[in-house]
Subunit: 442 residues, 2 copies
């Protein structure tokens, strides 16, 4: 896992670096900000995810022979720039929202402070990781809210690119999913895995009964049997005949789930299997989960919709230059004015104001330069949202690896409690809280 990540970039970043080294602007101190202008799909909140992955990937953002050769062979940059890259190491400061934190339009999710040269080439990698992982985490958090206390498992690997699937398992776990089907996610991030049998298991055997008998012999009576390969009623009957009333669970993967779950519960109860659990796994998303709230379902398995962000497979975060040193060495807030794509110049400090423990606003205090413009003490009844991930090029390892995932999961559970009731609804609307900008000078 220490391959160089320096080519997960768009070519134009190197073209800009090349030009800036030539014209002298490369050394200008800059503040880049990663933020989102809006929440996708009329959602009430977003969840930041991917930060722990990004930190590890940034550690490996360096130029070995293979990377330099690619840039040379395709004349991406000049020889002078190759020399600069050979010695490249990010030495600046990165701060931002903790993984698992909620975000809203304009939240300064990540702030990168360094020379232009050091920061400009991190754009694509930072956005790839945070846009993907946050899109999954946001959708998954809505599913977790809809599921309430019932356990949720992520099983969407087959519907996502193989590496994206591992990142998706991780993001879903951070916001409350309890397990994944994906073994690579367990290996890499320590996420518990689950899973018993597919339809192929039943089809492989000469009869459904043979398949059930074998599964119970191998996995014990507390296993979960998949009962819908042929006919669900027959499947349930066979399952209890073979396993007895102590069968752990049955899984339903097709049909109109509220109807089927109800009928299956009644059948199980009538057979005396009152403790046998029902897991449903067919085409679930946050709306289907919510619609099953009153049904006798014990656990959910979610596939496609969680790994694809339930209709919004990417967040709309962007990476923008918001402040830089001017010719005189002083700070200049900068912003583009493009139609519908304007940005707000200046460095930002962010706070979540709270009343009785519930969020009331996303307070963003704007100044020009590098300095931390406001501290938590300066804003009473508010929580400071930014922490430091890297200082002088040293990355803070506490956010990385499986430990970082657990930290993010705990943080998310804590801050989701701050969501006002209107933030929990699934319907499309405005963000749960407004973003309020204040000038540091005020």
């Amino acid at each position: 896992m220490n391959a160089s990540t320096a080519l997960y970039t768009d070519r134009y970043e190197y073209t800009m670096l090349d030009g800036a080294l030539r014209d002298g602007t490369a050394e200008r101190s800059c503040v880049f900000e990663l933020f989102s202008r809006r929440l996708s799909g009329g959602r009430r909140f977003g969840v930041v995810a991917g930060t722990g992955r990004l930190i590890s990937l940034l550690r490996n953002f360096r130029f070995d022979e293979a990377e330099l050769r690619l840039l040379k062979d395709h004349r991406v940059v000049s020889d002078e720039t190759l020399t600069f890259l050979e010695n490249y190491r990010f030495t600046g400061r990165i701060s931002g929202y903790r993984e698992g934190e909620l975000y809203f339009p304009g939240s300064p999710i990540l702030t990168i402070e360094s020379t232009f040269a050091e920061a400009v080439i991190l754009e694509t990698l930072a956005l790839s990781v945070l846009n993907h992982d946050s899109a999954v985490a946001t959708a998954a958090a809505r599913m977790s809210i809809a599921a309430g206390d019932r356990p949720l498992a992520e099983m969407g690997a087959r519907r996502a690119q193989e590496e994206a699937a591992v990142a998706a398992s991780r993001a879903a776990y951070i916001v409350g999913f309890g397990a994944t089907s994906n073994l690579e996610a367990q290996r890499r991030w320590g996420i518990p895995t689950m899973g018993t049998a597919a339809h192929a298991w039943t089809l492989l055997h000469d009869s459904e009964e043979d398949a059930f008998r074998s599964q119970i012999a191998n996995n014990g009576v507390d296993t979960t049997l998949l009962v819908d390969t042929y006919d669900i009623t027959t499947g349930v009957q066979t399952a209890i005949r073979v396993a007895g009333t102590n069968l752990g669970g049955v899984r339903l993967d097709s049909g109109d789930l509220p109807t089927v779950a109800q009928a299956t519960r009644e059948q199980l109860d009538s057979l005396g299997a009152v403790n046998t659990k029902i897991t449903v796994t067919s085409d679930l998303d946050e709306y289907a989960i919510a619609a099953l709230a009153a049904s006798p379902v014990d656990a959910y398995g979610v596939g496609t919709s969680v790994v694809t962000g339930s209709g919004y497979p990417t967040a709309s975060m962007v990476y923008k230059l918001v402040a830089r040193q001017g010719t005189d060495g002083g700070w200049v807030g900068v912003a583009k004015a493009s139609q519908d794509k304007s940005s707000m110049g200046g460095r930002k400090a962010a706070f979540r104001t709270l009343e009785y423990g519930k969020a009331t606003s996303e307070l963003v205090i704007v100044s020009d330069g590098f300095e931390q413009v406001a501290t938590a003490a300066a804003v009473p009844d508010a929580r400071a949202l930014q922490v430091t991930f890297a200082e002088g090029g040293d990355f803070d390892s506490q956010y990385e690896g499986p430990a970082g995932v657990e930290l993010a999961r705990a943080h998310h559970a804590r801050v989701r409690e701050e969501l006002p009731v209107r933030g929990l609804a699934l319907s499309k609307s405005d963000p749960a809280i407004p973003t309020v900008y204040r000038d540091a000078e005020d």
Copy 2:
């Protein structure tokens, strides 16, 4: 790139393997089939992509110490199964549609013939790769059709997980995109890269004019200037004042593109820059591209929509057991009957019937066992759709690496010519051709 891929799997595959080794069914000869019941989004065709990647990943599907330890530590399988896996090597046959080929509902995209034990654990990896890459390729092919002869570049890396982005660049290139912004895609798959400057380039400098001057000094007058950081009309005027009328191009990344493109063309022409090209890059998808057909646009850059499959980020391919040896050694076609998720048992041979060079149907001939049931000679006026990717565990290397990408790109260009006119429309409808099943005995 030779890390083991054996844990890109769902846990239940190993649970089934474990049970099958215990009850003796693991050695049954099986035919698994990867297919899609439908085309997402009322599209008229799908494009198979990812095959070349999959072959390379399957080569590395093996169990080293780390994989065995994970399976042992989490008690996924028994010690006997660990011993089996230690020696695992796929020794069967894999055949299917060539990369770049079109597919339709029921097309037998991939057929895996081996023992149950060898094939059951390949499900997730095969689906992850083909579902993702085919979703991107299918969306990208529609964009390529909409763009006609105008060049298309993929620049969506920032809106996809970092590894998924590389796979997406590859899939888009196979179906007709000419370039990508993604340097890793160039390194790994040989895809040409492009890109000049972002808004940060302009904001970094003291004025737009400074930024343009520097870019031209560094990249020459045939570069493309991004002119919408502040005001497009002023930007274009500055661009031509600085570069002269031989400026290579301008890029528009915001605004109502048909209007802005028209105004920019008129302005460029009035300034004498009649050969300066216009590239547009703002929120394009196949519909926006089609809507610009009559506009004076020279090239398109597509981001989010292509890497996320333009509304359908995953194909709906599934991996199903369709035939197996029975207790007597004879073949049994198997199929599940689950509501809305039924499958068709039996091994399939697939042909595209043609009339005057245009496709008229997807002919699928169904039999029970391992034997190739029909050859091209048996079906006149048709093209046989399946080739062999692996035989006796030997993978055919011609489909891998950059050479495989070029092969797939050429194949796609050829077979897209077979699409009947109704297959080219963007609106939602039925598949361009019907899928016709025929029994091998008939």
